[in-house]
């Protein structure tokens, strides 16, 4: 009756050998192709370094002005701009400016990358039910797999540094981008699509003039989600060498520095709120002509 109380599992030796075999194959793969893969990602490295240098080397008043200008352009709302200014000044006053700039630079690159990869995948998914059936479970895995787990192969392949951190963040942050692009395009009013067809639009014209503009508010929600999830990942990414607000938090955890942890944590919250409010109010402004005005 032993099988009844203890789950009959694979033979210990066989299991050990299986794990060893997979590990060794992956290690061999890393040794053989690691350099090539690193070379493939090197433009990303350059982009990251360039962006980080811009954020940290530019004098703080200029950066502040740029961020405030973007906030104004996105939201057209003085309250949001004032909130931005207050958060940035507080972050600087508590001596977290450089780390914050590194984090913002990381989030910026990550968002650009997610948009560049996510929107085309989302578009392709919206056009093919079969692709949607294939991609959806992959996205589920990406979102639910504990992030530490996929840090392992990324670190094995690329070592410790900015690029592996970026990849880990993108893997975690890209699913909502893809999902919401797909959803947005699929939800475009069938009547309008039919009209576009009736006027003889090519599928490119239909995509650019009808589907993407009408899906834009949903896509904006995807970008917003993507930024939020990327920010949530900065602490984990700091474990593999990504500089920024995550590292002091990590240090605080290891050494029980309560105040250090809370200050940097609040700085992350601060920039998260800035990004969120600005991108959301931009999304809402896009909807201006979509609502039905009664009367």
């Amino acid at each position: 009756m032993d099988w009844f109380f203890n789950f009959p599992h694979m033979d210990d030796d066989a299991l050990r050998n299986l794990k060893k075999f997979i590990d060794e194959s992956f290690r061999a793969f890393t040794r053989a192709y690691g350099d090539a893969i690193e070379g493939f990602f090197s433009p990303l490295q350059t982009f990251l370094i360039y962006s980080e240098r811009f954020m940290t080397k530019t004098p703080w008043p200029i950066i502040t002005l740029i961020i405030l200008a973007i906030a104004w352009a996105g939201s057209r709302n003085l309250k949001i701009v004032a909130g931005c200014l207050f958060s940035l000044l507080a972050i600087g006053y508590f001596d977290m400016w450089d780390d914050t700039m590194r984090t913002i630079s990381m989030i910026f690159v990550c968002t650009i990358l997610s948009i560049a990869i996510g929107i085309p995948i989302g578009i392709m998914m919206s056009r093919s039910d079969r692709l949607q059936r294939i991609v959806n479970p992959v996205l589920d895995v990406m979102q639910t797999m504990p992030s530490f787990v996929y840090l392992i192969p990324v670190v094995m392949l690329l070592g410790i540094g900015k690029v592996p951190g970026l990849i880990a963040v993108v893997i975690y942050a890209i699913p909502p981008m893809i999902r919401l692009t797909n959803l947005g395009i699929r939800l475009v009013d069938k009547d309008v699509l039919e009209a576009a067809d009736a006027f003889g639009s090519s599928s490119w014209q239909k995509l650019v003039w009808v589907q993407l503009p009408l899906a834009l508010p949903t896509i904006m929600a995807g970008i917003n989600q993507c930024i939020m999830m990327a920010l949530a990942m900065v602490v984990i990414a700091s474990m593999i060498g990504v500089q920024g607000l995550g590292q002091p938090v990590l240090k605080a955890i290891a050494n029980q520095y309560f105040t250090l942890g809370i200050f940097n944590g609040l700085a992350i919250v601060g920039i998260a709120i800035i990004f969120d409010r600005v991108s959301q109010s931009y999304g809402q402004r896009l909807q201006k002509h979509r609502e039905i005005i009664h009367g």
Binding site: D191, E194, A195, D197, A198, F199, G200, S202, W209, H289
Partner: protein, 345 residues
């Protein structure tokens, strides 16, 4: 504007069966399998059955039917937004069904334009940008397309609204944009799918007048779908009545009102304002040779209402009907007019 040599639209033996492998059942339907049987036995829906309609160039062809009669399906076969199961759709002599994708796109760009029940305007484009959509698709430069669009916007009464967005306009005005967008294409065929059904009655009358006024000039081949018999009778040079995917009567408004093909149509016709639809020609009694034209006259093709108005407000006891040259064709008196207005059913 429309090509003088345009040959109209001919629909021949058109069948549409919705559902997988509908083509296998066309023969059975042709041999008498009914819509209900098809649905019960095979789970397929018979959309259209043996449609044959000839729509001459430059006329308004109305297709009338209640919801589920297949009228919207039928109009979508003309620009092949729906593929038929079998049959031919000849537009200007070319079979739309046989076109490949790029021919079809070209055909839709240059030969047809469509107006939709729910307007189907792009919410992120303003009125002018919506109007030029068809021209954008044809890759016509903005300068030229704007000029064309402005001209049509003015014609449909939207001058000054170019910069407004669709959600800032009432339903009637949105449909004017839809109409201007279609007219800007300057295609010989204008398809109007229940274009006025979403509008309230007064606006609808108004839009019907706009269309009739424009048609005098543009002389396009218009296919107009409606579920409203009054609208059909007012607009249609020719009317086809559809029921359960079949044409049950085709003809002019006079044919439909005076000689309904069956009880179903007779039932509809009962509610119609006959005085406004029936022409005096249908009820006049022939004049004796050498009959002198004295007192009230109306032109051939006038409605009974027109003649009755003359009698009601004047002192004459009968009205003479004349042809455009002034030659008398017949006479009517109040009694025969009244008899025609009171439905015989």
């Amino acid at each position: 504007m429309a090509d003088q040599r345009f040959d109209g639209i001919k629909i021949r033996n058109l069948y549409k069966i919705f559902g997988p492998n509908g083509a296998a059942h066309v023969e059975a339907v042709r041999n008498g399998l009914s819509k209900t049987e098809l649905n019960e036995k095979f789970g397929l829906v018979l959309g259209l059955k043996d449609i044959n309609i000839e729509m001459p160039a430059g006329c308004i062809q109305v297709i009338m039917g209640l919801s589920g009669s297949g009228k919207s399906t039928l109009i979508r076969h003309i620009n092949r937004l729906i593929d038929p199961t079998s049959g031919e759709v000849l537009v200007n002599g070319v079979d739309v069904v046989r076109m490949n994708e790029s021919e079809l796109r070209d055909f839709r760009r240059h030969q047809t334009a469509m107006v939709f029940q729910k307007f189907a305007l792009l919410p992120h484009r303003n009125v002018l940008e919506n109007t030029v959509y068809g021209l954008d698709v044809q890759k016509i430069s903005r300068a030229k397309s704007t000029e064309i669009a402005m001209q049509w916007l003015e014609r449909v009464g939207l001058k000054g609204f170019e910069k407004k967005y669709p959600n800032q306009l009432s339903g009637g005005m949105q449909q004017r944009v839809g109409l201007a967008r279609a007219l800007s294409n300057d295609a010989p065929v204008l398809l109007m799918d229940e274009a006025y059904s979403a509008l309230d009655p007064l606006i609808r009358m108004d839009m019907q007048s706009v269309l009739l006024g424009l048609q005098k000039e543009i002389k396009k081949t218009i296919v107009f779908i409606t579920h409203d018999l009054d609208e059909a009778l007012r607009l249609g040079d020719q009317i086809a009545i559809l029921r359960d995917g079949e044409v049950i009567q085709q003809g002019t408004s006079q044919d439909i009102v005076l000689r309904p093909a069956d009880d179903y149509i007779a039932n509809f016709v009962k509610e119609v304002n006959r005085g406004r639809v029936i022409h005096v020609d249908a009820v006049m009694s022939p004049v004796a040779a050498g009959h002198a034209v004295n007192g009230a006259t109306v032109m051939s093709g006038s409605s009974i209402d027109d003649a009755m108005k003359l009698l009601a407000h004047g002192s004459a006891t009968d009205v003479t009907i004349t042809d455009p040259a002034g030659k008398p064709l017949g006479t009517v008196d109040l009694k025969c007019l009244a008899a025609a207005v009171v439905s015989s059913h």
